[in-house]
């Protein structure tokens, strides 16, 4: 059965902050809290400056993330951000119009404290979702969560003709502001908040693209990216902080050696913007020159790493600029360690 991308939804959620604002707020936060030991804090701030060097912005759904202290604070912030994203997504889906959806899959890279993300979106969309639709939440999918959902949706049988995937990534709600744990701050500085959606259909009428096979590989290093448990919540962490870049690059290249992937000179590429270093170094090693990476770099500079929402934002940009018949490929990577390669052809 063939699947088509009918529409990609990319609402912008949250407040726009640039690197300088993030750094100023974090510096002020550290100083106001008089965190100890002082020398460690100063070193951490210098590292944060490395992560926040240059012109880059992100959108923040939880502007008070440096004040999160309790499980209740985090959970309330998560619920508010997800509801905000659901509202933004449903507004865009309603305004674009669609066939009635047979399935809605709610997706996030993080755990979903708010039950029924798919149900809430379906309720918002009213008659645009069939009353007997499959409603499913897919959580803790890491930065490949949206690609995992695409992989899953493309295996559904003919009972499901129109599938809506809704991605919510309120990454700022994970921040552990009192921790001096370096991966925690690596996450805070790299991530931005975001939402996205995609309508897959078996009907090509008005479709943007025909979906090709989606291939994945997991590398057997589930702890490379994981959650650390703080006193009140969980936070982003990695198992080998100093060797992280090296392990991720090795993991991606190893996965690609197992995945049936291809490149042609005319194809457009979306690469998950895990960070500028990973983006550039991985692209270089798989032979993508700078010009073909530009859409992913542009996305990262504006939105930072919106976890699994990012790849759909870049994909939409590429589908808007692609010519009929032009291939569009994407590569996402994240916790697992998990790599997904997908491709589609602009109609």
């Amino acid at each position: 059965m063939k699947w088509y991308i009918r529409s990609v939804y990319t609402p912008v959620v949250g407040e726009r902050w640039d690197n300088q604002e993030v750094f100023a707020r974090i510096s002020a936060h550290f100083r106001s809290k008089s965190l100890r030991p002082v020398e460690e804090v100063e070193h951490l701030l210098a590292l944060i400056r490395v992560y926040l060097i240059g012109a880059r912005t992100r959108y923040v759904q939880c502007p008070h993330f440096l004040d999160l202290r309790s499980f209740n604070d985090h959970a309330v912030a998560f619920a508010a951000a997800v509801n905000d994203s659901i509202g933004a997504l449903s507004k865009e889906v309603r305004s674009a119009g669609s066939e009635p959806f047979d399935a809605v899959i709610g997706v996030s890279s993080v755990g979903q404290l708010l039950p029924g993300i798919a149900d809430r979106l379906a309720t918002d969309l009213g008659a645009q979702v069939k009353s007997n639709a499959l409603l499913l939440d897919l959580s803790n999918g890491g930065c490949t969560a949206s690609s995992r959902a695409l992989q899953l949706a493309s295996t559904l049988d003919s009972q499901h003709r129109d599938v809506l995937i809704a991605v919510v990534e309120p990454t700022s709600t994970l921040a552990d502001p009192l921790s001096l744990d370096r991966p925690n701050w690596q996450g805070i500085c790299t991530f931005g908040d975001g939402a996205a959606g995609i309508w897959l259909s078996t009907d090509p009428t008005g479709a943007l693209a025909e979906l090709g096979p989606i291939n994945s590989s997991h590398r057997g290093d589930a702890d490379l990216i994981h959650w650390d448990i703080s006193s009140s919540y969980y936070r982003f962490s990695v198992s080998d902080f100093e060797g992280f870049d090296r392990k991720v690059r090795t993991g991606i290249l190893g996965a690609l050696s197992e995945i049936d992937w291809a490149d042609t000179k005319d194809s457009l590429w979306a690469v998950h913007p895990a960070g500028m270093m990973l983006l550039l170094s991985v692209a270089k090693r798989i032979g993508l020159d700078r010009s073909r990476l530009e859409p992913s770099i542009r996305h990262f500079r504006t939105f930072s790493n919106m976890s699994s929402a990012s790849i759909l934002h870049i994909l939409r940009d590429l589908l808007e600029q692609a010519q009929p018949g032009q291939p569009v490929r994407w590569l996402s990577m994240g916790a697992g360690f998990h790599v997904i390669y997908g491709n589609c052809t602009r109609l």
């Binding site: 400056r49 240059g54 100093e242 992280f244 870049d245 500028m276 170094s281 770099i297």
Partner: protein
């Protein structure tokens, strides 16, 4: 083991190509953070060093040294960390 002078030569080449207005006469005393203001340039420096020296560099490992130390200390750090990596293999 990578050679300190080779690291400095690779840095000199990068700075001369990307920041032609900056004198590289006293390269070792220049602070990387004063020269590099953009993340793309920082990453390009790292990729340049990887290519020239045939090593893999981890930004997390070099950490804050990337912006707070001068190029001389950065070269020392790279030599030290590469020696450590080779020792681990």
């Amino acid at each position: 083991m990578i050679d300190r002078q080779a690291v400095l030569e690779a840095i000199r080449e990068f700075v001369a190509a990307h920041f032609p207005t900056i004198s590289v006469d006293r390269l070792e005393t220049l602070r990387a953070g004063d020269v590099i203001q953009q993340s793309l340039e920082l990453v390009e420096l790292v990729l340049h060093l990887e290519e020239k020296l045939g090593i893999e560099i981890n930004i997390n490992e070099l950490g804050e040294n990337l912006v707070v130390q001068n190029f001389g200390s950065l070269a020392d750090e790279l030599v030290r960390s590469e020696g450590k990596v080779r020792g681990e293999k």
